[in-house]
Amino acid sequence: MKNNLIVSVSPHLHKGESVRMIMWMVVLSLVPAGAAGVFFFGIDALWLMALGVLSAVATEAVLQKAAGRKISILDGSAVITGLLLAFNLPPKAPFWIPIVGSVFAVAIGKQIFGGLGQNIFNPALVGRVFLMASWPKYMTAFTRPMSYDAVTSATPLAMLKGGGYLAHTSYLDLFLGKRGGCIGEVSAAALLVGALFLLMRGYIFWQIPVIYVLTVGVFTCIFGPQGYFSGDWLFHILSGGLILGAFFMATDYVTSPLTRKGQVLFGVGCGVLTSVIRLWGGYPEGVSYAILMMNAATPIIDRYTKNKVYGSLKLKVKS
């Protein structure tokens, strides 16, 4: 939506799209992944999502009222924040975790900066990282899917970090989502259905997610456990929150670069950081930290990847 400002002669046609419509389309595209989460982890997952969305919307309304801004809870952006935050929670998290996370995400991650379009960091990820640093014991207590009596189980990536290697999880299980993990991240298939919808409608561009996923694949393949080029790249791509992060969080309009060149750079940066954290870092998963770090680099990327103005000789960077 960013590059639709094409100067042309009249008559002009409006595409009939608005921020509000795009946001609701993104919500729609997240439905399959949410449904998969409920299918694998039971009705608890649905409650967590509902709480996350409700508290995000309520926080947005209260803060906009308090700041004297126009109340824009119907534009769907707070719904996305709450939903994505809930997607990042373990299915058996206590009920107050999504509430606290959503309030923090919307208040500190978004409204403090001035609301939609002003935030530096992806609000949902801000909320997740806050929860992760505050209550790690709830944020890392994962349960096995399809078993409704809360059997704890490590995520595939945590098993990998712990030394075990793909003990029970086949690629098919990873792809469909039958594995331990957060509510919304487990089913790559469901996420890809939503992502494909967004790509086909032109709401997100392929550069960031595809380059991001490819970079992780190449990087984890090269630096494998048994010497160079022995890595299990498919495992790394399908596990953790990579698909969710790459297609739905790294592509956030506000916090990612505007130009295609910049988006490629952004994707590579996210991919390298994610792989480095996964392979050598303290955490088993690094998608959220990688995206947040690249969010911080977005203004710089935007500054140095301005499109060349047609007819101008030399691109000058204004400081």
């Binding site: 403090i112 806050f130 640093a133 505050s134 209550w135 790690p136």
Partner: protein
């Protein structure tokens, strides 16, 4: 007398070193994990500030302009050493908790800032009240920040548990919590100031 009172009071609200001048943020970030640390740091800094302000105001005419900063540092370091030795003797636990941040008061920008901006231009008595006000303002700011951080970070105030069953957010006891609290409080005080003006 009224003049002295106003010199004293300006350090608490109008020119609060932490929230208005934004000085001395390094020790503020580091030691505001618990209220007792905050109070200890505040008292230590106040003692140094009082001593250095008075001495510098006394000797301001003897110091050559070109080497005034080294002279200030010598005076300040003397008082910091006195404070640190006293703290080691009478409150070793606090000294251990504050660690490197006690010797680092030497380069605390509140102390140096008041010496450079105030004590070297004003009378001894004025400088005394300025130092006292700044010290109390710094202490109050530390208490406010550390109370918020201790409550949310460990569910306690001064080591006493307030609410049973409250799950503390570890992040508030870590550096990001300090930056968050200071940032929000700075914003809060700016809003209040903006409303008054």
């Amino acid at each position: 007398m009224r003049k002295y009172i106003s010199e004293f009071l300006k350090g608490i609200i109008r020119e609060n070193p932490t929230f208005v001048l934004a000085l001395g943020l390094c020790p503020t970030l580091a030691v505001s994990v618990t209220v007792s640390n905050g109070i200890g740091m505040g008292i230590a800094a106040t003692a140094v500030l009082l001593g250095s302000n008075v001495i510098i105001a006394l000797i301001k005419d003897m110091i050559p302009d070109k080497i005034r900063i080294p002279c200030y540092i010598v005076v300040i370091a003397t008082f910091v050493t006195i404070t640190e030795l006293l703290m080691k003797a009478y409150s070793p636990a606090l000294n251990r908790a504050l660690g490197i941040y006690v010797p680092l008061i030497v380069v605390n920008c509140i102390v140096l800032g008041r010496a450079e901006a105030y004590a070297c231009k004003n009378s001894v008595v004025n400088s005394f009240f300025d130092g006292l006000g700044m010290g109390v303002g710094f202490t109050l700011a530390l208490i406010l920040i550390s109370a918020i951080r201790e409550f949310f970070g460990s569910g306690k105030i001064l080591g006493l548990t307030l609410i049973k069953g409250f799950e503390p957010a570890f992040v508030m006891a870590m550096p990001p919590g300090a930056l968050l609290v200071i940032g929000l409080l700075l914003g809060f005080f700016n809003v209040i100031k903006g409303r008054k003006a």
